[in-house]
Symmetry: C2
Subunit: 343 residues, 2 copies
């Protein structure tokens, strides 16, 4: 168990290091007002804290820096989340502006978040989950081309152009579109392909001449993956952090950030509420020396998305955690308001 004084020393070292990025020495600490002990005493405490694994040295005669275990302890026990009125005001302004639509709000939140923290923000759009098809429209553009437009009950719109088979005529196309629209309304997006295959293909075969020609084109509409949207803000922001003073580190970071799959991986095991992964606690190699803070937000029944901030392990945990948790509340609330009437 840690003594009062050890807690104090640990806390002050981490706070100081987070601020300055420089190893903290005993003398510097002893000068602070809140610490009434001499440098020598602090040195002893530091040595003990190092033995316990909370602190590290960068070399044998350097000041101390927090270890990952140290950060973990700090996050779990030493931070009283401060409510940052000022920053929240900025964010609220973005969110509450009703003229923006959802995707813009998210995009802007990502940018503001990154701006306020100087870290890189990642927002994972809400999963489709229970979202249902509201309308499917097939609009011919010309004799050979058409565009299919899918609208969900949450107002999400997807579209997909395709070329038409030569044989089809416009009345057939219309008939087909009507059947599809009738049968698929209210079907959850993620079931579309299955329902199409199971219930509709047979039907269409009966009603439409030469349906086999059209099959592959329709099929392409529904096999369309529905990618979860990823919004990233401030990729270059994080470069301002002193830990990115190394070209190789930058390269590997950016190589990862280019790969949406890998980023999606990062956020895969997100839990409800706030999650903090420090350094090696992360599963993705490329960020084993960074920290990731995640917060989930809700959209209706069970649909969730994730807001995350990626920064050096030397992160302003206090600020970031309070900011994220407020933002996730705001977003859930805004989304709730937006969709409230659809129930």
């Amino acid at each position: 168990m840690l003594t009062e004084r050890q807690l104090l020393v640990l806390q002050m070292i981490i706070d100081d290091f987070i601020e300055t990025a420089h190893p903290v020495g005993s003398r510097a600490l002893s000068k602070k007002e809140s610490i009434p002990y001499s440098a020598a005493t602090i040195r002893n405490e530091m040595a003990d804290l190092e033995d316990m694994g909370f602190l590290e040295k960068t070399h044998s005669s350097s000041g101390r820096i927090p270890s990952e275990k140290g950060y973990r302890y700090y996050v779990d026990h030493l931070i009283a989340p401060l409510s940052n009125q000022h920053n929240m005001k900025i964010i609220r302004n973005v969110i509450e502006d009703g003229f923006y639509e959802f995707e813009q709000i998210v995009q802007m939140s990502a940018e503001v978040l990154s701006e306020l923290t100087n870290y890189t923000s990642i927002i994972l759009g809400p999963e489709l989950g229970e979202t249902k098809l509201k309308q499917l429209q097939i609009l011919p553009l010309s004799v050979h081309t058409a565009v299919a437009i899918l609208v969900t009950d949450t107002g999400h719109v997807e579209h997909r152009s395709f070329t038409l088979p030569d044989e089809i005529n416009s009345s057939d196309l219309e008939k087909m579109a009507n059947i599809l629209n009738d049968r698929l309304q209210g079907v959850p997006i993620i079931w579309l392909e299955e329902v199409f295959q199971r219930e509709i293909v047979g039907l269409l075969k009966r009603y439409i001449r030469d349906f086999d020609q059209s099959y592959q084109y329709l099929q392409a509409i529904f096999s369309h993956e529905h990618p979860v949207k990823l919004y990233i803000g401030g990729k270059s922001n994080i470069l301002m952090q002193p830990e990115f003073n190394d070209v190789d580190k930058i390269r590997s970071f950016y190589t990862m950030m280019e790969n949406e799959n890998e980023i999606a991986n990062l956020l895969k095991n997100t839990k409800h509420g706030i999650g903090v992964s420090i350094g090696n606690e992360n599963e993705v190699d490329a960020i084993k020396d960074l920290s990731l803070i995640t917060a989930s937000y809700q959209l209706g029944e069970g649909q969730i998305g994730t807001i995350a901030l990626l920064g050096p392990t030397r992160m302003e945990y206090k600020k970031v955690i309070s900011l994220l948790s407020s933002l996730s509340n705001e977003m859930s609330e805004a989304l709730y308001k937006w969709y409230r009437a659809s129930e």
Copy 2:
């Protein structure tokens, strides 16, 4: 005027430097088979070429590197565009896969282009130009929300959700949507807002009760900017170039790449066909030590987009220029095929 031998020397130096990124010395050059002169002779030629401004030294006793003027001369007079069958095959595969839609093709082209060259590729989607509205639909999602969907005759789809004024009832909404759709079909996208203001507001005022309430919401639909889509590939690719071995350079590059406006600026003064801007010839400060190669592609009557590659001034101009010009042809052709039937 340059002598035959000077041309040869200049060309070999530039080719060599483009390949290795190291200053080229006289002895190394004289060893090459295609040069039958001694190092001393070449030194003399080099000194002359430097006097003329085509070459530079990095320090008083270094080998030579091309100056921007040197590159310019090289691009204008010394390269016979080589047709790269192999790379074009790769690109053609991407483009000709009919199941992809336009935006995906462009996105993938950008990525392949960057992959093949190791530079950063930028593709500016076609301007809206003459594109006309094909359909405007207003789909209510709930009592309080609706989504407006605009489809152009080229199959481009834009949508925008908004909240409904409390007063409006669904039959009014439908009436309104019908009037809008009737009146706006065939109107070029860029005129939408104007036509709406001039011809339709008055009409709606007459037919719809409490139209003033709805006005601001509708207005928001049409004042929506129609941003030209920007596709970027391989932002991190360029980091592998040795000229990006400097953290500050990376920072300024990425800061620029985060800003879509600035990128749009880069490509603003693009001319028809192939354009090459070397170093300080670029107007945007952030890329004054990079080169930008642009190629335009056509979509129907006058609508154009731009494909560009951004790399160090030490760029493989031969390869890049031939690749881009082929790609722009392929894209124009693919788009032409795609839309041919709409006329």
